[in-house]
Amino acid sequence: MCGIVGLFLKDKALEPKLGAMLSEMLVSLSDRGPDSAGIAIYGAATGNEAKITVQSPKPDRDFRGLDAELAKAIGAPVSVAVKSTHAVIRTTPDKVDAAREALQTLRPDIRIMGAGEAVEIYKEVGLPEAVVERFGVRAMTGTHGIGHTRMATESAVTTMGAHPFSTGADQCLVHNGSLSNHNNVRRELIRDGMTFETENDTEVAAAYLSNRMAHGKNLGEALEGTLSDLDGFFTFVVGTKNGFGVVRDPIACKPAVMAETDQYVAFGSEYRALTKLPGIDNARVWEPEPATVYFWEH
């Protein structure tokens, strides 16, 4: 099972409601996967600020005093906004790699959920309702976002095993399905310098896309590559700094419904995820074709 949702806004007037709309969509699919849930929200990139979303099993210990220590270590201003087990670290875009490195020694138990100019990622074990409540997702504004509620079929039910998976700046991916050749692909990607946090098949898909883009392909080409290089069942929904994409494997047995109006493009594993969106009764609603890449950009 698993439930995935995505929402890409065209109408700026809806941006203050992005978190609320996406939360509603995800909660409606709770019974597709009760193990864990996650959401990635893209705020507007300002160009002079980078965000790193981190998670800690002991937030009280790890987040206290982190701003001052990290600022000193990287020699740049740092702010830390704590939300439950997660925190969003803000610094200048040129200091992201330095901050990642410094975090390894300053706070070895911290895990990085994602980084970029626009994206923030929140994921935990538990039902979507509990996860969106815990991180105040409903109040978040943004331009687009994706979400996932997991029924684990590959790898452990842990925070790191939850989706979205982010393996590149401002990139993230959610997946419904299961890959059968992920171990082979993982080995090939490791040989090419990619690193992995989990045994999860979806992390391999995310890393595959990041790797292909690092080799100069655009997201559309990287998504096309999944159709020949990844074996198994999948519906992927991906986010980038200013884009939103969908692809299904050639068998396409994992469900997917899309809707488009002048105000938004929306994706849901099931139609009921879309029923509360504004103007849905007059939206163009369709099932994405198998082995076909769909992509929108701001």
Binding site: A252, C253, P255, V257, E270, Y271, R272, A273, L274, T275, V285, W286, E287, P290
Partner: protein, 243 residues
């Protein structure tokens, strides 16, 4: 003796039993439908606000008419045995799965495996159907006004699939005895599925189905017939590549 269905005019005057799914649970609806007994006067039902709910009106076994106002989720009208169920919207995966008798009309589109394993009755999809339409059909008649997706009528065993539009890849893969009539283009035929001659009895059969499904302005002679080459019934090593 089955009750006489209410006329449309009577229903519009408010004689239908209305079930609003924003007020009542799906279980209440299905329970009320399952409690119907032969000869019941509650022959007209209206379901409001389905909002993509799963399993709307499954397992109905009385000849009542049910109008669902809006789009439904998985398995709507599954196992239908005698009811006339109309969805005034689109349907999710598995609509009319294992229908025994009666009829189901989807005014919008249908998702994957519409009419799967159906044993009887008529399923009409006025929009498009998705992949695996009529998979393993066993006697059901399916009429799709629009297109159907890939792997439709996979392992179909009996019944008729009529498509006014186009069919996707691997139509009729591993088909046994069902008849497939397609008016538009077929992307590709699956293993053991071949184009067959349209004989007068097929024209007659198809015309009957088109009439039953309310299709007008389309002639049976515009369709091509597809069916089984019957090469895969018994294992033959020479056909191993086709399995």
């Amino acid at each position: 003796m089955p009750a006489t269905p209410m006329s449309k005019a009577e229903r519009e005057q408010g004689h239908a039993r209305v079930f609003d799914l924003s007020q009542h649970s799906l279980r209440e609806l299905n329970q009320a439908l399952h409690q119907l007994t032969p000869g019941s006067n509650e022959t007209a039902w209206e379901v409001l606000n389905p909002k993509g709910s799963h399993s709307v009106a499954v397992g109905v076994d009385q000849p009542v008419s049910i109008d669902v106002r809006g789009s439904v989720g998985y398995y709507c009208a599954g196992m239908n045995d005698g009811a006339t169920i109309t969805v005034h919207g689109s349907a999710g995966p598995g609509v009319g799965e294992n229908m025994m008798s009666g009829s189901i009309v989807i005014k919008g589109d249908a998702s994957q495996y519409a009419g799967a394993t159906g044993r009887g009755g008529l399923l009409v999809i006025e929009g498009n159907a998705s992949s695996r339409c009529g998979i393993s059909m066993k006697g059901i008649d399916i009429v799709v006004h629009g297109n159907i997706g890939h792997m439709s009528a996979f392992m179909a065993q009996s019944g008729n699939l009529v498509v006014l539009g186009d069919a996707g890849d691997a139509l009729g893969d591993s088909i046994y005895e069902a008849r497939l009539f397609v008016r538009g283009k077929v992307e590709s035929l699956g293993a053991d599925c071949i184009a067959k001659e349209m004989r007068p009895e097929h024209i007659e059969l198809l015309q009957g189905l088109l009439d039953k499904a309310g299709v007008t302005g389309v002639k049976a002679s515009e369709f091509k017939r597809y069916g089984s080459a019957r090469k895969l019934y018994n294992f033959n090593i020479d056909n191993a590549d086709a399995y």
